[in-house]
Amino acid sequence: MAQVADTAQKYMGGGVLRKEDPELLTGRARYIDDISMPGMLWVGIVRSPFAHATINTVDTSRAANLPGVRAAYSGADLASEWADGLPCAWPVTEDIKIPKHWPVAQDKARFAGDPVAVVVAETRAQAADATEAVDVDYDPLDVVIDMEAALGDGATKVHDEFDSNSCYVWNLEVGDVDDVFNNAAVVVKERYYHPRLIPNAIEPRGVVCQPNLPQGEFILYSATQVPHILKTTLALTLGMPEQKLRVIAPEVGGGFGSKLNVYAEEAICVAVGRRLGMPVKWIEERSEGYLATIHGRDVIQEMEVAADSDGKLAGVRANLKADMGAYLQLVTPGIPILGAFLYHGVYDCQAYSFTCTGVFTNKTPTDAYRGAGRPEATYAVERIMDSLARKLEKDPIEIRRLNFIEPFNEAREVASGLSFDSGNYEASLDKALEAFGYDEMRAEQQRRRDSGDTKQLGIGISTYIEMCGLAPSQVLGSLRYAAGGWDAATIRCHPTGKVTVVTGTSPHGQGHVTSWSQIVADELGVAFEDVEVLHGDTAISPLGMDTYGSRSLSVGGIALHYAADKIITKAKTIAAHELEVSEEDLEYDGGIFSVKGAPDKSKTVAEIAFSAWTAHNLPEGTEPGLEATYVFDPPNFTFPSGAHLCAVEVDTETGMTRVEKYVAVDDCGNVINPAIVEGQVHGGIAQGIAEAMYEEAVYDDNGVLMTSSMASYRVPSAAELPSFQTDRTETPSTTNPLGVKGIGEAGTIAAPPAVVNATLDALAPMGVYHMDMPVSPERVWAAIRNARGQEVESRGKDTTAAGSGLGSADTPGGDA
């Protein structure tokens, strides 16, 4: 099956404008809140204001008597609707503690925002009024907010049925780690806190359920990234025959992982629709979503590297505590595991150890947020490489070059046990340094240092790697994930020469309709405009594993490529029959089969589609029609990489820090649509800068979210960000025949350490060696102030002696 790999590329790699745009630009696209149907009722959710409380009584009578209110339910009222709790599909260890997670809490509320009652009314406003009129009697309980406190003796337990708040401990150890660390010339150990983040897709979540009671059928429209996973898991939660549930993801306004889940509101809307026999709708308010939609990250990382006296890495040891929040959502426990193999980054070493402890707290559950596990790993390794360089008084570029894995074009095993598909880390760094003007920037930095400028310049580097193309099903199985990692595509060649593609991926901004059209147009020799791509409806696209983890092109796109291969294989048989030659005598290029040596004797795929449809003269044993489905299970992950360079300007009086220059050179293998790839990089960088400098979900001691709306949680605007310089190197992946790797998360993974390294680089002369994200103005101000206050003391310490540990010598883990 190699016919199409060599085919002429007319659209792939070229500048094709997106097919998706016209609808989106003119306001005609149909998002979840645009869906309305006769008789539709509105669902409102009553949420616990307390992070931890016993629910004594839920009195819905006042709400039920309000105008327009059709029903009001407590958790107990709805208990009979659930055959099981909401799903956690990734029990990462055999002895993991998985609490029952009912869509509506019945006995206790375990985070501020936990649903405790449901109201159903005729209008949006009446539903809002009714949620205010449900009287819930709570007894507030002690809360656990801090992960380390949660693991302490005698800590309040989030779940009484377990003996502690430790959800799981997951280990990976390769090589003799203790031996390597004991015998290392240099050891650097630091502690990083990766803040809790709120994803903030600009479209809030929403659900519409349309029941057809006589048939026992339900259509669930949801602003989701994962219609297929949602259908299967929700059928189990609701005790509903899976074939009776159809899930449709309409136009979806961004996800970033936040819509990669199975949420209480999805279960509630189907349950309420089933009870009332009426269509129902729930639309999330933004500030409601801050409590009800998963958060990301919230991880404490103890990172340790051992190296020889030149700085050549020998070992890596990472020890994480990851905040699960109050419950396990779809893949909550598995998020740190997605980074578990990447703590040595693009550098090699002999010994590798990773441990993660999952911890329950009385906070909103965490789960996948753009990058998921890989930003944590990249942040840890890229921060500590800078510290290692500082300790050895080397340039951060030099220490990286010393440790890079040499360029390779065949898959090779690395220390953590993964097999990287291909890589050339020097190449992207070289290109980035040139674009950045590294030497001139260093000279400018020196000028500012020498003149004692209030505004200092810092330069940060991040040479990152990530693991994409989730995922080989066997590997997922060995990691105890409950589903496979394959994806599917169908190509249907119509007798009129047009083509319908059905994909199992579920785009929400990524432009699959365009990229998939490019692939099929080139491989089958049809016009780009003549390819229709269908997605996001489990009735139309029954096979699929959806969109997350930069998997769509490198799994779903490859399924499409192989489906095209199947089409060509069948078409070739028919073409040979019609041209009265043997298949071996045919050549295929760009949709045309021609007889070798007699190119005027030829058939196009479109012509074959017509003859396959008329079926008047098919070879013996050939089924009519020209349609093929392929399900692709990737043999390996893909490993995009790259080099990001960032310059920040720090106002040393106020702490205000701005990104002045940002250069990204990414290597995502071969590229189908350069504009889409660049767009993904831009957005990823912006999100990474946001993570590094602006955003953090902050709770008070009672577990109340203080950054409770978009007005206080600081998603940056255009006014806070610069333009970005982007470029690429292309090292084809060896995992798949298109040589593609994925680009959805690269920017978000690469940017945070580039920004923080730059900020620390600006402040190093003042004695600031550590800050946690976000490096907000106050944090920067406090770090400078602390460093100045401790000037004499820290100068007296030997922070470069082996084993002393920069982190422990310089205000460990703290900056305030």
Binding site: A125, T707, W781
Partner: protein
């Protein structure tokens, strides 16, 4: 969320507005541009029984050269103030600071009267008014009075306005010297973490602070130091005197006090150099 239900009255004149205020008393809230009130109502942090919409009182939307002073109608939107040539010429700090409020969309509807009457200590224009010793013209059905900015802001979201009062005009002086408003915020559209207004007028300097207390406040210590001959940098070190700034996720009180000093120095230097 959708706001809780309320009764809506639209005033078609100032007299009508005052009549409606008298009728509804404390149950009523005035709605001008709505950009302070409506977000609070959407989160149901405010649930007024009656809204009196004064947005149609276009006769209260003006910027006029009024001899010694510039008169600004209370319903003039921030965008018009920002673009006012009269203000740019005679009292540039007001035009400049109006352009720092919120974002363009907010400035198209938000009004100077609304900003001042809301009494939010994180708001920029009240601070500028305080530094300018502005006068506020207030009407009630019983007559009118003029309040000095220095006696106007009485507490967190509290002012000297009574429930039956309508703020109709803001009067600011024609400045004889330089000015500066230093707004320190993390995102462009955010409220100030700290703001400092400095104006030079009639041979003296006035300095006022945003978000350093429950109310906008004058930096008396700075002003005294300047009056007794200190230079800007020295005087600015007094900026945190008698302040009681909030502590929240974006700034501890200690940080704000330090920022006030830095920003005061910068404001004074800019005001004195222009």
């Amino acid at each position: 969320m959708i706001p809780a239900s309320f009764e809506y009255e639209r005033a078609d004149s100032s007299d009508h507005a005052l009549e409606l205020l008298d009728r509804h008393g404390e149950e009523a809230k005035l709605l001008a541009g709505g950009h302070s009130l409506l977000p609070m109502m959407r989160l149901r942090l405010a649930t007024p029984a009656v809204l009196i919409d004064v947005g149609r009182l276009t006769d209260l939307s003006y910027v006029r050269d009024d001899g010694d002073a510039i008169a600004i109608g209370a319903l003039t939107c921030h965008e018009d103030i920002k673009d006012s040539d009269v203000l740019k010429q005679h009292c540039g700090i007001v035009a400049h600071t109006a352009g720092e409020v919120g974002d363009p969309q907010v400035r198209h509807l938000g009004t100077i009267g609304g900003s001042i009457a809301h009494g939010d200590p994180a708001s920029d224009l009240p601070t500028v008014m305080l530094a300018l010793d502005a006068q506020f013209v207030v009407r009630s059905s019983g007559g009118g009075r003029t309040l000095a900015a220095s006696n106007f802001f009485s507490g967190l979201f509290e002012t000297a306005l009574e429930p039956t009062n309508l703020l109709t005009e803001v009067r600011v002086p024609k400045l004889s010297g330089g000015w500066s408003y230093q707004k320190f915020h993390h995102r462009a559209q955010d409220w100030a973490i700290v703001g400092v207004a400095a104006v030079q007028h009639n041979g003296g300097a006035a300095v006022a602070l945003t978000n350093m207390s429950d109310v906008p406040m004058r930096a008396a210590g700075v002003e005294q130091a300047l009056a007794s001959g200190s230079d800007a940098a020295t005087a600015a070190t007094e900026a945190a005197q008698n302040t009681s700034p909030p502590s929240d996720p974006f700034g501890s009180a200690e940080y704000r006090r330090d920022l006030a000093k830095v920003l005061t120095r910068r404001a004074l230097q800019e005001a004195m150099s222009s």
